[in-house]
């Protein structure tokens, strides 16, 4: 069958709108994450100029790498949620809740690996509950997930009466070796977090799920006309967020072998900021996992960087905000929104 609709004369190219250069294509596809990387490099260069002795030596980087894995596990699934056109503010409580299950399983004398499985299942269940509430009840994700965050955190505090759980029995176990030691001077958690980032990147860019997340976030009506169950896709992003929150909770508990009732609380705004600093726009349909990961690196670095650069702690919030705003302006200029 031939469906040639144009006479030969019309087939001549009118305007050349793209180049076949592989390098140029790579830059174009990854412009958001490359821009974010540039912000990171510039930031480190400024810090290094301000205080070369600190920034040309390893310990400052090593200290940032302790909190970075937790941030990565939160930021990367959050990119999926923002891309599908929603937001989640409940992940800190999900993180605390899943880590609590992990701590309880370990405290009861079971294997820490069973505890990790329990935490992940808990995270998925809570993610499903939050997602179903937002999607099926048709609530605003901004407000509904804020409510869920308060409720889940409140539940933890009511039941534990605000008491932490020390898990000193974890020391010298296989789990501690795998999750709480250094490898080549780098906290081993970094490698696990990077593996999670790579997994999420493949899911986002090379898997049917990522394609449907982008389609549903771009034009939900079209996606559903093409047979995609948009509600299921949206809920699935929340379930994935639950997995990330559970992993983050386990990793943060493994750092000091202690679970706190406030576990996860401090990550809400830095994780959200990282997504947007990373170059994922607010309107859905497009996003970048690699950019989000670099965004997490930037946000994690600001605090240590500013103090190490010789400024007092009072400057931290100001520069935090400044870098977020400058990144957004940079991305605004770098992204084009199609309608």
């Amino acid at each position: 069958m031939s469906l040639s609709l144009e006479p030969a004369a019309e087939r001549a190219p009118k305007v050349v709108r793209h180049s076949d250069g592989a390098m140029r294509k790579f830059l174009n596809v990854n412009r958001a994450s490359i821009g974010t990387l540039a912000v990171f490099v510039v930031m480190i260069a400024i810090f290094a100029a301000a205080n070369p002795t600190v920034f040309l030596h390893w310990p400052i980087y090593s200290s940032v790498l302790v909190t970075l894995p937790v941030a990565l596990c939160l930021v990367v699934p959050l990119v999926f949620i923002v891309t599908v056109g929603e937001i989640d503010l409940s992940f800190p409580a999900t993180m605390g809740f899943s880590a609590w299950i992990f701590a309880l399983v370990v405290q009861a004398g079971y294997s820490p690996f069973l505890g990790i499985a329990g935490a992940v299942v808990t995270g998925m269940a809570l993610g499903y509950a939050v997602g179903a509430l937002v999607v099926l009840a048709g609530l605003s994700s901004l407000i509904a997930t804020l409510g869920m965050n308060y409720m889940l955190r409140g539940l933890i505090l009511i039941v534990t009466q605000g008491k932490s759980i020390a898990l000193l029995q974890l020391q010298d176990t296989t789990a501690a070796t795998l999750l709480s030691t250094d490898l080549f001077g780098v906290p081993v958690q970094v490698f696990w977090a990077l593996a999670f980032v790579v997994f999420a990147g493949v899911l986002f860019n090379h898997h049917r799920f990522g394609a449907r997340v982008k389609a549903a976030g771009d034009n939900p009506d079209s996606a559903s006309q093409m047979g995609i169950n948009v509600n299921n896709v949206r809920i699935a992003t929340y379930v994935f967020m639950g997995v990330g929150a559970a992993l983050a909770g386990v990793l943060s508990t493994m750092v000091n072998f202690t679970w706190w009732p406030t576990t996860g609380d401090g990550y809400l705004l830095p994780a959200i900021a990282s997504v947007f600093v990373g170059g994922t726009p607010t309107w859905g349909g497009v996003g970048t996992v690699a950019g989000g990961a670099i965004g997490a690196l930037i946000v994690s670095f600001i605090q240590s960087g500013i103090v190490a650069a010789g400024l007092s702690g009072f400057y931290v919030q100001f520069f935090n905000g400044l870098i977020i705003i400058l990144s957004l302006i940079g991305h605004r200029w770098n992204q084009r929104r199609f309608r």
Partner: protein
Amino acid sequence: MPERLIELKNIAKSYGRVFAVGGVNFHVDRGEVVGLIGDNGAGKSTLIKMLAGAIAPTSGEIIVRGQAVTGWNAARSRDAGIETVFQDRALAVQQTIVRNIFMGRELTGWFGLLDQRKERSEAERLMREIGFTSKVFSPDSIVGQLSGGERQGVALARAIYNKADLIVMDEPTTALSLTETEKVFRFVRAVRASGRSVLFIGHNIHHVFDIAERFVVMDRGTVALQAVKEQIGTAERLISYMEKLAHPQGTASYDSDQSISGSRA
């Protein structure tokens, strides 16, 4: 007698007490081009959205190749060989041409991983068939960068990819230039020549009359007329029939003898 591809029996859709479509019998056979016409609000769009599975009928039966179906939805409709080119083209404009062509029908390998090489080569083949030049666009071009006619091309490419038996086109020529309209007509003829069916919805009666061989006229949620081209004769007679539907008292000076010997459903 040609195979009956799809049949809607006594199909109705109501929103509360308002009937958008009230008890319509409608069918499409293999290898025919059916023109669906009617005024705004006649229920054309509701009818084709039910065909596409985008909305569920309130009552009635959907029969695909002689089999009554249950749980009809968008995915089922596409599986049954019905592809719809929606009026708004149903494109995700921030995504590439490839992603739009395979939206909801991704080609995957292991564990649901996308077979991006195959998707790309298939997209290139489809774009050539539709008449895109690969020098101007690549399958990786973002749909938002394309013009209206080019976007229509992406929607058409998506519709023919799965060798659908029935391609439903909702006002495909609206807002298109003369040459772009001609392209759409050539597309319809090519689909027809390959033994498949087209349901063509349009406001321009001349367009619909040229391209279709059987006509279904809807009026206020019901089918007012079903007739083949020979029964109607000329586009002018169809237009005057439409005018009389809209103004039954007939202030306009149309020949009252111009009755069309179609069947009322």
